[in-house]
């Protein structure tokens, strides 16, 4: 047997036919993998400095976003507190009410939940789906602490129905039956605007609730308007900057970049001072006699859009400038010399070539607008709040993390769809630069 590779020979010196047969393929793998492992080692060495940040991002960016998705589909309160009841209810056909024995199972589990402290989460969860649901659950648990014949299922039933007539109807039972697992699409259904709340008799509740579809529409609409206006304002600005030389360009760029450097909060605050009822603008207008009484300028859609435009303008303009600077001026001159008017030469030669910049800036602005929270929260009215506002409210005030997570999942998904072409654009252009 000849061995072309010296060091591999060590593997083959075993005078064992069986061992040789087994080792032969391994030998080639060893060589190949030593070449491969060398390039691996180089790649690992290249990646090594980035490891701390990557681990940090994995821990505090990727995992938290994963836990949002997990929270959005987690829905185990009912099954956790009432495991036997949900199991027993699988045999129920959904008409009228379940058999009397189930009342006893439920009653016992409610009592146990009361002791274990899981009754409040259960009540809250049922309340999301059943009008007055929290009262139905907590009231039942309270009534069960009174004295009655605990051996008789009929007495449990009577006691529960006495606590709340809802227990004599199908609504609450159908909810308990439905959630027999740890996961459900309930919050996602809620966040996508499906009606989720029912009455005790099982009909859809007429109670007023959040209209998430109109909130998404509003978010998209405001973002579109802001994007459109920043492009309309930004295009001439970018054009002038891209075609200015030296000092002029530097000064104009400074004005564009200034908002980049000043605090977002301070800029938003300055709009409040400027626009409020007794603010600078209203007072100036009133003193000049232009208006008889202060105009409601703050807490309006208009204020939101104007403040957002100011914040987003640099993001729209900067990509436009870098694309416009690369457009050769000779082509426009050539078009002019061939008889095209100045506007026509611009529209047919310059504008089409600046579209990549407009698209990049516009997309970036649109994606960033979708997630706006601070500006609408401070200068907008209640009907100008976008998705982020509701995520913050459900997290911090209503403590409904499931719904907040479901809204977040939809927001990231939507923004991601829009951002994909943007990412491709950035990747293409950043690879030229790096």
């Amino acid at each position: 047997m000849t061995l072309p590779y010296g060091d591999v020979g060590l593997v083959m010196t075993q005078n064992d036919a069986h061992g040789a047969k087994a080792a032969a393929p391994t030998a080639r793998v060893v060589v190949r993998s030593s070449i491969r492992s060398d390039s691996h080692r180089r790649a690992v060495r290249a990646a090594l400095p980035a490891a701390p940040l990557l681990i940090f991002l994995l821990l505090f960016l990727v995992i938290p976003i994963g836990s949002i998705v997990h929270t959005a589909v987690s829905d185990g309160e009912i099954a956790r507190a009432l495991p036997l009841t949900t199991q027993a209810l699988q045999a129920w056909d959904g008409d009228d009410v379940p058999v009397t024995a189930v009342y006893m199972t439920l009653g016992q589990e409610l009592e146990a939940a009361g002791h274990a402290g899981s009754i409040r989460p259960l009540g809250r969860r049922v309340g999301y789906e059943l009008s007055r649901g929290a009262n139905v659950i907590l009231g039942a648990q309270r009534t069960l602490s009174k004295d009655f014949d605990r051996a008789d299922p009929q007495a449990w039933k009577a006691q529960l129905i006495k606590a709340d007539p809802a227990w004599g109807q199908s609504g609450v039972w159908s909810i308990i039956r439905h959630y027999n697992g740890r996961y459900s699409a309930f919050y996602l259904r809620w966040a996508t605007g499906f009606p989720v709340k029912i009455e005790a008799d099982g009909r859809l509740s007429q109670e007023a609730s959040y209209d998430f579809r109109s909130i998404y529409l509003r978010t998209i609409l405001i973002s579109l308007v802001v994007t459109g206006l920043t492009i309309l304002i930004g295009y001439p600005v970018a054009y002038v900057i891209a075609n200015s030389s030296g000092r002029t360009a530097a000064v104009l760029l400074f004005f564009i970049l200034l908002p980049f450097w000043t605090s977002l909060l301070v800029r938003t605050m300055s709009w409040i001072v400027f626009l409020q009822t007794n603010g600078v603008l209203n007072n100036t207008l009133a003193r000049t006699g232009l208006i008889p009484e202060p105009l409601p300028l703050l807490y309006t859609r208009m204020a939101t859009i104007i403040a957002m435009i100011q914040i987003q303008l640099p993001f729209t303009v900067l990509p436009m400038i870098s694309v416009m600077r690369a457009i050769p001026t000779n082509q426009v001159k050539a078009a002019r010399s061939l008889g095209a008017g100045p506007l026509r030469a611009h529209a047919t030669i310059f504008l089409p070539q600046s579209i990549p910049g407009i698209a990049a800036g516009g997309l970036l602005t649109f994606v960033l607008c979708l997630g706006f929270y601070l500006t609408p929260a401070l200068v907008g009215g209640p009907s100008d709040q976008m998705v982020s506002f509701f995520i913050a409210r459900f997290t911090n005030e209503d403590l409904n993390w499931g719904l907040a997570s479901a809204l977040s999942v939809i927001l990231i998904f939507g923004a991601g769809l829009v951002a994909l072409p943007l990412a491709r654009h950035v990747a293409r252009h950043s690879s030229d630069r790096i």
Binding site: L48, P52, L53, L54, L57, P236, M269, V332, A419
Partner: protein, 266 residues
Amino acid sequence: MGRRVYTEFPTYIRIPLYGFVGIALLLLMLPLAVALPISLNADPWFTYPFRASSLRWFTELFSSPLWTGAMVNSLVIASSTTVVATTLGTLAAIGLVNPRFPFRTAVMALAISPMIVPVVVLGLGLFIFFSPLGLNYSYAGVVIAHTILASPFVVITVTATLTRFDFNLMRAAAGLGAGRVTAFRTVMLPIIAPGVAAGAVFAFASSFDEVVMVLFIAGPQQRTLPKQMFTGLREQLDPTILAAATVMIILTSCLMAVAYNANKKR
């Protein structure tokens, strides 16, 4: 690039174009230019003209324990964030400019993504993730949250600086017997220092200005300056907020000027 002249447009288009751009830029600056001087108004009104001007609101800002506490918190949190984000971001940028870096584009996209992902979503994710770890309502939690937001600034600035760095210098250092760490410390770092400084300034400014993460993660102990301003803006607008805003703007402007000059000198 040479001087570019407006050969395309005749005067009758150029003048309205200039006018439009000038007015647009001025209008965007107007509220800020109008609002900040009101911090000098002696009366608690948000209008011009003043009856008298005074530093009353600044005195109030620096004497009220609520505001000074918030300022100290902001400085502590922003400084810690700057240290962590600058270290992690600079190292990552060094890795990311290496063409051998595996999945470089994807990793770059991940490193930049905190700039695009809505802050509220990041805040909610960290809030959920932190709650079993006990990091909510802690300084460490806020610094981690701010580092996530600040690190892209460092990665971008340092990466841009490194594209102009001559990596042969590192080979020369290695040839002269320097280890990787020594070569980094004595050759690369001094050359890219202005870029690192600019990244650090951006990191500081982004943390010093941040309020949304604070709303999610911080407790009353970690009340920062922007949080204090945000509360004031939502409840009762008080000229002290304008004084605080003026202080914030002056501080970040100074830092930006320092970073700008450091980069210009190169």
